[in-house]
Symmetry: C2
Subunit: 351 residues, 2 copies
DNA sequence: GGACGGTTCTGTATCGATTTAGTTAGCCTA
DNA sequence: TAGGCTAACTAAATCGATACAGAACCGTCC
């Protein structure tokens, strides 16, 4: 099949003997020309296989592409398999879709120079999670041309969408501590400055407080411990670098395989993924949950609620977070910080 | 802070007293100018806050955007929460990332006119699953300008990436039928012409065979039934429209809540999501799996393997499917049909 | 009949880069 | 010293549209 060669708006105009302006208007502003001419143009376009104005040229000329970029702190592969990130993306996609925009996925892990470069094409950026390269953030902010919204971390001078991590973690810890644990433990998610999967020793530096939600979550736990008379510093802590079964499993196995008199009987986990991994591995070892081991999570992902026993956790509405960020970036709602509230879900793993 | 006004390559060139060509070359072809001049240009660019060539203009001029669009048959919200689609996207993202491309997400559910229009910006399309609107497909193919790869369905004249659905389903059904079931049943995924969640009656039209993988899967099951002397037409079938817990649950509840002497003792499900929903609901009802009810799935998603009992299923490597499609679209491997093989996973739900 | 207002249509500058063909400068060689 | 080559740089056309200012047309009203 001989491809009928690519036709442009200009050629179509020439073919019809009208100006390019009219052809453009036929596609973009029906009110600017007579219905008769418009119909003639559109039908000739169909006949010649002209698909409408070229998006590349249009976006150059108008300055807008109807593309919003989401920059994810982790690799795309990781993010796409993470329930929380997926929910966020769902919420974003829902709003963008409804307003005729599309979604460009970028990872903060890729070559920092590429992100701002290759994507000055986007009309705006939603940045999710603290980027490993702060340079990248500077670049993104520096352009100053496209709006930017931060999700789940603070970014000077830009609006942020978060949840109330500290109070939420305080609340779930308080709930868990109403039954005094003999040996509580905390499993953090990306708390340390240097990557670490395992026990957090005294020698490990923690991330600076203002840059991450992890610190806020831990602070909530610790406030609750202090309040019931447990020295927060005495509670053993572990760290997980990546919120996946594969990474969590060995750490949790090490915890559960400790002698019974050293094994924790309460695990406060910073994500449902961690908590569910703990639950699965505990069950495999014949430990009874919650009798032998109580477990709490964070996030409220579906997987934890549609199983037995149901996970005790804090529900954060990541879909809504995405919707809000998307509306802000589209200018449908004011660009200002938003703090969403969370909800304690008392399931079966820590009644 | 007074935004220092947006600067262009041309202005930068004027500022430096060199030609725009040299500035362009400084960014794109270091070998075309002296290191000295290049350094002068780059440092001046830094000083003035010039972030490199504008992506919109560059893509117009060069005709390439380094963006690959993935068109998903379902809504983005749905696809992002579906483990199989997410895996596919992971594989695609992995390859695109490695080759400096980015990923634009489009849904075949949105206004058909918008997809080809708003995204003639993409350098290529990966289309996943049969679009509800065939018009859209025609449009996409019609452009003829950008390459297109189909995943999980056949598209005339375009390369396709699939798995061997029929043999795979034949194999798992044969495995399941080695223990003769008293009352086998099949739960299909999107098999009917008209949307339907529930029992498939004789009155319902099935999708035409060449347009969907569902028919191939069913054919595999049926071949196995026939081979062991069970009349395929006598096996009750249900249909599920959307691969989510929420949609599956009521259908499966209806199946499980039937009187014990009518309740199936073997469920062949067309996805792991369906199978896992059945498993959860069966457990809630105190049914023993596999003693009272045997269940098989399809896909091999992680969730089915990291739980007890482990799901008996067919593993298809969706990540690899994504990688292959992405390589094809980037021209890294030949544009030709690819059939991936699957693997029977004998878990605990149907030993 | 001419001024006026409104609609419809056109000519052309412009968006911000890339790229080809061509110029200039500098060096080597015979 | 002229001729030839290469390296370094530039001028200008081009990618495919949009949008402004203005031209042409048409009917109306005084």
């Amino acid at each position: 099949m001989s491809s009928p060669r690519h036709i442009t708006l200009k050629e179509l105009a020439a073919e019809l003997g009208v100006s390019t302006a009219s052809v453009s208007n036929a596609f973009n502003r029906p009110d600017q020309l007579s219905p008769k001419l418009r119909e003639r143009i559109l039908s000739e376009a169909r006949r010649l296989g002209y698909r409408g104005p070229d998006a590349k040229a249009r976006s150059l000329r108008t300055g807008r592409s109807r593309i919003i970029a989401v920059v994810l702190a982790e690799t795309l592969t990781y993010s796409l398999n993470d329930a929380v990130a997926s929910e966020l993306l769902s919420g974003i996609a829902e709003v963008l879709d409804a307003h005729g925009h599309t979604l460009l996925l970028l990872s903060g892990r890729q070559d920092a120079s590429r992100v701002p470069g290759s994507s000055s094409i986007a009309d705006g950026f939603i940045v999710y999670g603290l980027m490993p390269s702060l340079v990248l953030l500077d670049e993104l902010q520096g352009t100053g041309r496209q709006p930017l919204v931060a999700v789940d971390f603070d970014l000077e001078g830009q609006p942020t969408v978060h949840v109330d991590d500290e109070p939420a973690c305080y609340a779930i810890a308080r709930h868990a501590l109403t039954t005094p644990p003999r040996r509580p433990a905390v499993i953090n998610l990306r708390l340390t400055e240097q990557p670490c999967n395992g026990r957090i020793g005294d020698d490990q530096a923690l991330l600076s407080a203002e840059r991450t939600i992890t610190r806020a979550r831990l602070a909530g736990f610790q406030r609750a411990f202090a309040e019931v008379g447990i020295d927060p510093a005495a509670v053993p802590m572990w760290n997980i670098e990546e919120n996946t079964f594969e990474v969590c499993a060995p750490v949790i196995e090490a915890i559960l395989d400790a002698p019974a008199d050293e094994r924790p009987d309460l695990l406060l986990c910073m994500s449902d993924r961690i908590a569910l991994t703990a639950l699965t591995l505990a069950e495999q070892r014949g430990l009874r949950v919650p009798e032998d081991l109580r477990i709490t999570g964070f996030d409220g992902i579906a997987e934890g609620q549609y199983r037995a026993p149901r996970l005790t956790t804090v529900r954060q509405d990541s879909v809504e977070k995405g919707r809000i960020a998307a509306r802000m970036i589209l200018g449908l709602s004011p660009r200002e910080d938003r703090l969403l509230s969370t909800k304690l879900i008392v399931g079966d793993t820590c009644p």
